[in-house]
Symmetry: D2
Subunit: 405 residues, 4 copies
Amino acid sequence: MSEKQKIVLAYSGGLDTSVIVKWLQETYDYEVVTFTADIGQGEEVEPARAKAEALGVKEIFIEDLREEFAKDYVFPMFRANAIYEGEYLLGTSIARPLIAKRMVEIAAKVGAGAISHGATGKGNDQVRFELGAYALMPGLKVVAPWREWDLNSRELLMQYCAEHNIPVEMKRGKKSPYSMDANLLHISYEGGNLEDPWWEPEEDIWRWSVSPEEAPNAPTYVTLSYEKGDVIAIDGEACSAATVMERLNELGGANGIGRLDIVENRYVGMKSRGCYETPAGTIMLKAHRAIESLTLDREAAHLKDELMPRYAKLIYNGYWWSPEREALQAAIDSTQQYVNGEVRLKLYKGSVSVVGRRSEQSLFDEKIATFEADEGAYDQKDAEGFIKLNALRLKISAAKGRSHS
Amino acid sequence: MSEKQKIVLAYSGGLDTSVIVKWLQETYDYEVVTFTADIGQGEEVEPARAKAEALGVKEIFIEDLREEFAKDYVFPMFRANAIYEGEYLLGTSIARPLIAKRMVEIAAKVGAGAISHGATGKGNDQVRFELGAYALMPGLKVVAPWREWDLNSRELLMQYCAEHNIPVEMKRGKKSPYSMDANLLHISYEGGNLEDPWWEPEEDIWRWSVSPEEAPNAPTYVTLSYEKGDVIAIDGEACSAATVMERLNELGGANGIGRLDIVENRYVGMKSRGCYETPAGTIMLKAHRAIESLTLDREAAHLKDELMPRYAKLIYNGYWWSPEREALQAAIDSTQQYVNGEVRLKLYKGSVSVVGRRSEQSLFDEKIATFEADEGAYDQKDAEGFIKLNALRLKISAAKGRSHS
Amino acid sequence: MSEKQKIVLAYSGGLDTSVIVKWLQETYDYEVVTFTADIGQGEEVEPARAKAEALGVKEIFIEDLREEFAKDYVFPMFRANAIYEGEYLLGTSIARPLIAKRMVEIAAKVGAGAISHGATGKGNDQVRFELGAYALMPGLKVVAPWREWDLNSRELLMQYCAEHNIPVEMKRGKKSPYSMDANLLHISYEGGNLEDPWWEPEEDIWRWSVSPEEAPNAPTYVTLSYEKGDVIAIDGEACSAATVMERLNELGGANGIGRLDIVENRYVGMKSRGCYETPAGTIMLKAHRAIESLTLDREAAHLKDELMPRYAKLIYNGYWWSPEREALQAAIDSTQQYVNGEVRLKLYKGSVSVVGRRSEQSLFDEKIATFEADEGAYDQKDAEGFIKLNALRLKISAAKGRSHS
Amino acid sequence: MSEKQKIVLAYSGGLDTSVIVKWLQETYDYEVVTFTADIGQGEEVEPARAKAEALGVKEIFIEDLREEFAKDYVFPMFRANAIYEGEYLLGTSIARPLIAKRMVEIAAKVGAGAISHGATGKGNDQVRFELGAYALMPGLKVVAPWREWDLNSRELLMQYCAEHNIPVEMKRGKKSPYSMDANLLHISYEGGNLEDPWWEPEEDIWRWSVSPEEAPNAPTYVTLSYEKGDVIAIDGEACSAATVMERLNELGGANGIGRLDIVENRYVGMKSRGCYETPAGTIMLKAHRAIESLTLDREAAHLKDELMPRYAKLIYNGYWWSPEREALQAAIDSTQQYVNGEVRLKLYKGSVSVVGRRSEQSLFDEKIATFEADEGAYDQKDAEGFIKLNALRLKISAAKGRSHS
């Protein structure tokens, strides 16, 4: 029986993390425990078992976390209408806290004092993994090979594989020139030609969606049902959280929805260019805002809007497991009690439009809103006092001679 | 020479404000001074002169305010990426402060102590007009006929016209069932069937844009040039502010861009449903965010994002002429100094995509961002200390036994 | 049996509200139901019974709400460290929601469709009462006599009393020239000479505290124990919420603590000058911040600090019973779970100083904080990476030639 | 002529930085250039010259920066009413950006490519110095000896002095057990017994103020005059910015004002306990709020209050030289245009009270605020409409059956 120190590695089964298994074994004499999760990335996770075994790994964890991911991470985040920097739906960011949590739990279970991951020293993911891990198990040691080793090019990695008998698959034709990441919420592309922000990505970069040009010529309509701010049914059919994501990814992808091409600000300090496909997320954001527009009180909605950028930033930066994110979540969730009802959407060649919303908890009051006679539901004369008192401070300022810039 | 008290009326030349002219003359014995402005609503303003004269108006002001509107109101607002409630581009809201300002200036010029407008007592516009007027001329009296009279249906208005010999035009075929408002930034529709938020508007409601389905099958590309956060050229050709709006409205409208169908929260307390077409604004918002993504510092950008909902709310609620809006504008403008460069956009069947952005003031540093070897521009080992110190408070909390919800 | 419409009046037993009883009976033929609450104003409430009876009131509610007031209103507010405009501890504001709630509950019980109060049309209290009442019982009618009648001077009120046989007490020597309000949290003074903001109040305005000059020459030390952000014991002795307030008011008042003289901005639009005595509140604010300083995570604390002004404004403006206040409270309360421990304070001639704080949930880690050798608890080299990555965006900006204003 | 690389050192003339001079010369063979500034720390700076010369320094910069410090750093910060974590007046934080700026300017002048300072790797000051330096001269190298060397105790430092012939003064009797820092705004104490947050500091820790107990038995009154938010005169006598600080430090210190004992959250992640004396700052904060209470518009004031914690945090964390601080400053400064007038204060045994404020730009309108008859300046009936429309959304929610938590 081994008396080596154990380390839990977030293992994809791919080239990089396979090299890391070997490197951890050789460099630090660790007993490597692998953890591979299905969070909807669209690749089989079971093959990781044989690969890990081939590398001499004895404890192998392979888990399907799709429901947990959708229900406890993606859905709470969408209650906040979270968008980072006006555009990014946080697809990569929101997966990391769950991975961190499971790694820490596995470490506790197998008696490991360290974890490792394959994220580079330039990106956000290292931060997200490690902040999560430290917040959940403070004594943990983190080994981040990309910050330590000198295998910083594909050639050096291949050479390392050759020297250490790590089998290299030549899968799916030519290697993508982009760094990719995928889960139920999105697939992302970075690197390669994208490092020129003036360069328009060629069509074949995109994997989850058809181009708007090739999407159907007729629109697709879909109705989402909400309960307490979460989608619970599609076109009247009840769905689990993960199923909601999967179906909407299909519907959205088929209609060219959810492509995004941005320059974003990383937490580690530089700007980077990324392309994303987020079909389900793009639909859900639009729909959630629509159901809120009918059921949420105005000032609760405005409070949420003002808190949102901060909430999104916390998730982007890796602070899911923090008291400040939890405090904001408590505020957000307290507003979702009556966010129930249905939203009807039109999907067409890249765009999502809301074409109807209804709710038993609707705060829309036709009688009051109407421009027609309202039988006294609203007394227009009240507006005069409302305006006059709101203007009072401005009038006093002006009367004292203050002018406007 | 008249010794009557004068009142300045925001006069469109349409039925409602023509009735108001007469009503003000009769009810209060006012000498009515009319003010009609071209702010890009797409109708001739000159015909208002003859109509006013026919109503016995002696002082008639007709002005082309399009450049001022675009340059001093729309453009500063777009520097903020302002959106109300996640969707609305504030097309009506932003026109009111300018109208209020000109009415007050005309009142000062002609010696009027009162102003009047045709906005109802249920809407936001009365608030915007009156807050602006009070802030700029605190002693002013405001007469809001819709809050006073009992002509609260079209039939009663028509009857009033008949009784007072006000000519009623039967223009452009059948009367629209919707309440509309237009300017360089948008055209809006409210009322009628729209008062059912589950009802999908029929295609012929829309006036400025073709439907995405009928838009061209090939995308249109356009490049906008920015200087200090404002668009100064389209496809390399320098344009005035109003011209920018007009050209982008054409381009956007032709590609089915800028339609919006929402339920919004009015300042006077109820929810209302509105449809909007904002072609130029939709393009400009996307493009401004893109040029900022390249040229704006991260924390300046995040500060702007956190302030934006509040800024948008101020404009929506009618507080353009307020010290708090001016303070926020000062913050926003201070960030736009280096927001220069070009954004290339693809317009296609209802959607706007950014496909490139470049700038001499770009803060995107390929050498640092690259996943390839960077020759020491960035030391990955720095990330370890960065993460550890950011994690320190979380580690201490966890070490003290605190758990996560 | 009466078939008159009933109205519930917030009745103090004083002159003004006695006149209102009669006025409501006469003007609107209401059956007046009185409600008098002890919220710690320091006057007997039972005498209000005989006075109401003398005015012909048949249903009289007299209640001791001190514990509910302290526990469910004052304490939650102090968890937020709420201060309005940097100075005001919201003593009057926080009492109104409770009064509104009880009035509405009594209205429901006795079958009244209306409520009334004695607040003027210029102040905040009318807003606080009425927003609360409308939020809790939307169909309610509110009668605000001060906004309707013309008894707008003391002389006219006295004359009304004479004409309607309302007995006028000549209590406690000469009438105070100030408008006062008191409850467990504070006593306030407005009006009279205070309307000149340059005028320094004479010593005898103050009723709850001795002057700092006359306070004892030796300091008083007191220790407060906290549990989940609330004070639960004084000097080791467990106290109910109301008892905490009462004891600290005594201790504070005896040491000249809690006087405040400010100009504040009312929600109805004007500035007003007020003097306040808030002995317990002044001590509790200082102590709560101190126990938080030891037990609250940094970012949770900063989030609270940023939300606080908004939370305070909501309470000041009368929005206790609103979804946005409740959302903020959810965020605040979520941070108080570990705010346990003890704070030791020194009270001396008008000032409160914290001289010690300790907690089993303390996050203060002497080993890490020390300037002495720390045996590796903190690696100073981590700071270099921390600083370098935080500086990266600033360095890139500077390298691109941007300068500072 | 030397061909050595030059480094600019922030040199106090004390033991630590003298050791650093030698250590930089020996360890890196640097040509050390010293920079010593008088920012009001209350010690002569000129003696640093001889000490530096004795250490072989050839280029010595000694500067009096008191006016610049007060005028361009302290005063702008006080316009914001900045307080960190509800208590701390940022005395140390605000001095660092100026030192960083001068070091960088001297580096540019003498052709140095590096700077060094004596701040430890556990504190905030290293961050403030270095962020400032990187933001102003991005290519600069920073050498932080405390993060590198192993001289991490007083004994080792003394031994180093002995070995390298560095003269050690035995000044002012026994060495203080506390780590101190002083400038025009404050003097701070950390370390030693203070590392126990339950321990009450003994009286002789305090250097700038008498104890409240020993302060005069009669109050001192002082009047400050403001122009655009800055103090320009004391008791009617015009003063430069630095003189304002010096005089108020004397007045405050003599009356026991400005002592503070807190646990604060450092940017590098731990909590620390500090004691501070900030006599002038404590007076100025109170006075500035008072003059603003009279002259600042309500919503501008509230906006400032909401932005303040963020602004204070930026300064605390070292981001003075950042676009986000500059954007906030632009907003703050835009509100100060009319912040003119006088504030009269009472200083007495540790507390500052405002007893009067007046201004030609006062927005306090006695006619409107009065509870007496106001001759129509304010129509109380307006309040009804104001309340009803503000309540509308709450009424609709309640009518739909929503309840309150």
